[in-house]
Every structure is written in C-alpha cells, then in structure tokens.
C-alpha cells in the first residue's frame, strides 16, 4: 500500500499512539513497517469517510439481547 495522498499528520498521530502503547514490544528496526501499515489504515479510513451515509443506516451486525433458555 502506498501512503501517498494520506494526511501525514494523521498518520503521525496514529503512529505515536501505537508507539506509546506498544513501542517496547516492537523491534526498533520494524518501526518503519508499522508506520507503512498505519498509512494504509489511515487511507482506508479516508476512503470510508468519503462515503456519506444516511443517519439511519446501522452497522450490518445488529446486536441482539440474549436471554438464556433451558440452561443456555
């Protein structure tokens, strides 16, 4: 995935969050790979935000309350 056309400030913010939380678990040599993938994630987010949806469109997986029957 290319990071071209992705808002780099947003990528910086997301990368900073991941580095802050998980930096000790990540090999320093792999930070570039993490950032590259975060660029892809940010680009996906931009593409999703570009589509306008009516307010009433719900997530496709609709939560259903559970009531156990016969010991379920």
């Amino acid at each position: 995935m290319s990071g071209e056309n992705v808002d780099q400030a947003e990528v910086d913010l997301r990368f900073a969050l991941v580095r802050e939380r998980y930096g000790l678990l990540i090999e320093p040599t792999a930070f570039g790979d993490v950032r590259r993938r975060i660029e892809g994630i940010a680009r996906n987010g931009e593409e999703l935000r570009a589509v306008r949806l009516d307010n009433s469109f719900e997530p496709f997986s609709i939560f259903g309350p559970h009531r156990g029957e016969r010991g379920d």
């Binding site: 969050l17 678990l25 792999a30 993490v34 994630i41 589509v51």
Partner: protein, 466 residues
C-alpha cells in the same frame, strides 16, 4: 499410478459403497502419500495414522453390515491445522503453538466423522491464517507451502496445505478457511476447486478465529461436484456457533440445470490480472457462451477493499490480542510477527463502524446486481503462483486475490467457487471464480459444473505425482 489417486469423491464413494475398495485400503493409500510427498511440499503438519485407521476400520465394518451412511462414508480428507481435532496438535501454523492440544473436535470434524469420512492429516497453513499480514510465503513453521505444479512456486495462502494436498493427490478433499482469499487463492494457484460457502453456512466452532464477521470454512476438492458433496457434509446449524445459520443445506448436483444459465461479469473484471490470467479468463467466458448468457455489469462504486481491510484489521487485532500480549508473536516465522500485530490498534472505532454500516448498504446493492443471475464470474486471483522464495507480499497491490470481487464477496459473506481455467506458459494453473447470492451455493456450483463439463482443466494433474 495408483488408480485410487486423483479420483473424485463421487467415483471413490461408488467404489466404497459397492465394496470394490475398502476404506482401510483408501486410508492407507493416502496416509502413505501424505508421509512420502507431504514433506516435499511442506503441506502437512500431522499425519493422523491412528485416528485414520480407526475411522477407516469402523467405516469398513459399517459398510460390511450394510450401514452405508452416504457419499463421504470411508472417504479420506485433510483438515487445515486451525481446526481442533482430538488427539493431534492444533498449531494454527505458528511455531509458538506447535504443541497446542485442543481436546475436542471442531464441528466440521465432528460432522465429517458422523458422515463416515476419515481424517488422514492436519494440513499446513500460513501462521495464524495470515493474521499478522505476512509478507513472505515462508510464514509457517512448516516452511513455505510449495506448489505441486512447480515446487519453486507458492501454493497460495493461507490454506496452503489444503490446496497443495488435493492437487498432489494426498487427500481426495480437504477443509480450508477463508477470511479474504484463503480458499480461492490456493485453489487457483494449485489448480483445484475451492468453495467459500456463505458466511454462517458452516459452523466455525473449534476453528481459530481471525476475524469473526469474515471467517468462513469450506472444502477444496478435485471438482465443483465434489465441493457440493463435501459442503453437504459440513454445513448446517450448530448450537456451539451462534453465527451458524439456521438453514439446512442440500446439494442439488450433479445434474446441470436444464436451461441456459445467466452469468454476470463485472466491467474490467480481469483488468488487474497478468496476461495469462486475463487470456484464460477470456477463453473461459467464450466457452461459457455455449451454456450461458454472459452480461457485463457495472458494480456500484464503493471503497470495497477499504471496507474489508478495515473490518479485518480491527477484528484480527482484537482476536489475536492475547497471543500478542503473551509475547508469542515474536516467535512467528515471518518477520511480520515483529510488527504486524500493532498497526491494527490504530483503526478507529468510528472507522470500524463505518465499514460495518457500509457493509449493509453494499450488501443490498450487490444483491440487487446479482439477483437476475445465477452467478458472477471473475478471475479467482490477479496473479499466477509467484516464486516461493522471493515473493514480497508487501509490494503487491491492495487485494491481490481477485479484487474487487474477492473484497466484495468476503465483506458480504457471499459464496464463491474457484475452478481451474487454464495454465500459464510456465505450466502454472489459473482459476475462474463463480460467486453467488447469499446461500446461493448451488447456483455457483452449477455454473462451475457447467464450465467443467465444457473443459478438462480439472482433469490435469502434476505429471510427477500421477
């Protein structure tokens, strides 16, 4: 050639039913090939000798008593090693889980056992079904899955062993899983039939979870007809899996519909393919004209790959969180284990929810596109099998697995089957997929059977393994 190898389930079952071949003889044939050829292809994790012979003996006794259970009775099969099977390790392809023992049978294993099928092996796979975003085919503790048609090439992922084992005649059929391409791509690369059922058609109880709303289990076989037979053995409701649909499945093959079929082909369906894939797809469509009306259709414009990728990233980051936090990811084979778990943590909740909302919109619009047709045809993969030792997945375009149809089909949980549609100049298989509406497996299978009735690609097998 051992004349039991490269026979369809339907052919083998007739031999078993009429007691011309015993289930024990069948099991021993395929156990021997798994032992001998499996390691050459890195396609096997565990050959389940004891269990296979126990199940085969039982099948033989039952059939001898006239208690024939059906087409899968006494038929050997292999299972991707993300399926729990009592008595054998369930490794998920991952070095840190080499010794993981799950002391129960996944529902598909249980159902196949009840149908009388015989588990002969647990088959290799890309570690964690590709959950770290592997960048090299060498992403399993069993080594890169090698292609029976050319052992320098990749078998595809993540159901590498399932595709290779069927193509190499190590099992008449195998069970694989698909989150995004993991059945159709190995089927295409290995020149076999691979069926991705509708989401929820097959229980996932006992299967590793990578992405709860994308994961599907399905068969890889020598023909589309065999995929229907195998699906009938594993489909159905399951109280252990709340996502399993409360629908029963009945395969309606092998007879073809007595009418012309209607197929849709997306505009530029083969645009992302290399020459051999594009040419073979065009030839397949030409062949299909004799049995089907083929219409070009325009797909509505949505960011299909962003939807599927966002859902998969967020869900897999959560599904594998404990594995990662226990420090196990660094023990994976592919270097993506060093960094792959973490980018998914950067998916925003609003992005995941937007993808899920778009999923509903897209589901309705694509269903409307598909409704007038038996199936939609498209290339199964954008590329021929790459060289196993040098392929860098990080440099591939987004959606190397038949985009955008693969992204649509997986996001929407639609059934699709890949069957071979020719070879490259180097003798490597390519595939065509037929995707149906939700719960439309029989229509997709009928289209694939119709194609296979016109062609003989599925009757080709690697010369050194015949």
């Amino acid at each position: 050639m051992n004349d039991l190898v490269f026979r369809s389930i339907r052919q083998l079952s007739e031999l078993v039913r009429t007691r011309q071949v015993s289930p024990v003889e069948l099991a021993e044939t395929f156990l021997g090939r798994l032992d001998r050829i499996g390691p050459q292809l890195n396609s096997v994790v565990t050959v389940t000798h004891d269990r296979a012979l126990r199940e085969a003996c039982r099948a033989e006794e039952e059939i001898g008593r006239g208690e024939y259970r059906g087409l899968l009775h006494g038929i050997p099969y292999g299972a991707k090693d993300l399926l729990a099977a009592r008595g054998a390790p369930t490794t998920w392809g991952a070095e840190p889980l080499r010794s993981q023992m799950l002391d129960y049978d996944a529902t598909v294993i249980r159902k196949l056992g009840e149908a009388g099928a015989v588990l002969v092996g647990k088959l290799s796979m890309v570690e964690l079904a590709g959950g770290m975003g592997y960048e090299s085919p060498n992403a399993s503790f069993t080594g890169p899955g090698l292609n029976p048609w050319d052992r320098t090439r990749w078998a595809g992922g993540s159901s590498s062993g399932s595709g290779a084992a069927v193509a190499a005649g190590l099992a008449p059929f195998a069970i694989g899983s698909e989150t995004w391409g993991s059945i159709l791509v190995p089927a295409s690369f290995c020149g076999v039939a691979g069926l991705r059922p509708t989401y929820g058609r097959v229980s996932r109880h006992g299967a590793m979870a990578l992405s709860w709303t994308l994961d599907k289990l399905g068969p890889l076989c020598l023909s589309a007809d065999d995929c229907g037979i195998a699906l009938a053995g594993i489909a159905g409701p399951d109280s252990h899996d709340p996502t399993a649909a409360r629908r029963f499945y009945m395969y309606d093959g092998p007879v073809l519909p007595g009418r012309r079929m209607k197929l849709a082909v997306p505009e530029d369906a083969a645009a992302g393919c290399g020459d051999p894939g594009r040419d073979n797809f065009a030839a397949a469509l030409d062949a299909l004209q004799s049995v089907a009306d083929v219409d070009e259709v325009k797909l509505p414009e949505y960011p299909y790959e962003a939807v599927t990728a966002t859902i998969q990233s967020a869900e897999s980051a959560s599904a594998l969180e404990d594995f990662v936090h226990e420090g196990k990811a660094s023990g994976l084979t592919d270097r993506s284990g060093l960094f792959g778990p973490y980018p998914g943590k950067a998916v925003l909740a609003t992005e995941y929810l937007k993808a899920m909302r778009l999923r509903g919109v897209i589901a309705r619009e694509i269903d409307a596109v598909l409704a007038p047709y038996d199936a939609m045809a498209a290339p199964a993969s954008d590329a021929a099998p790459p060289v196993a030792t040098s392929f860098d997945r990080s440099k591939r375009g987004r959606g190397d697995s038949g985009a955008p149809v693969s992204a649509i089909g997986n996001a929407l949980g639609l059934p699709a089957i890949s069957v071979p549609d020719g070879f490259t100049e180097e003798g490597l298989p390519t595939g065509i997929q037929f995707m149906g509406r939700a719960y439309g497996e029989n229509a997709a299978l009928a289209a694939a059977r119709a194609y296979q009735s016109l062609t003989s690609w599925h009757e080709c097998h690697p010369a050194d393994l015949v």
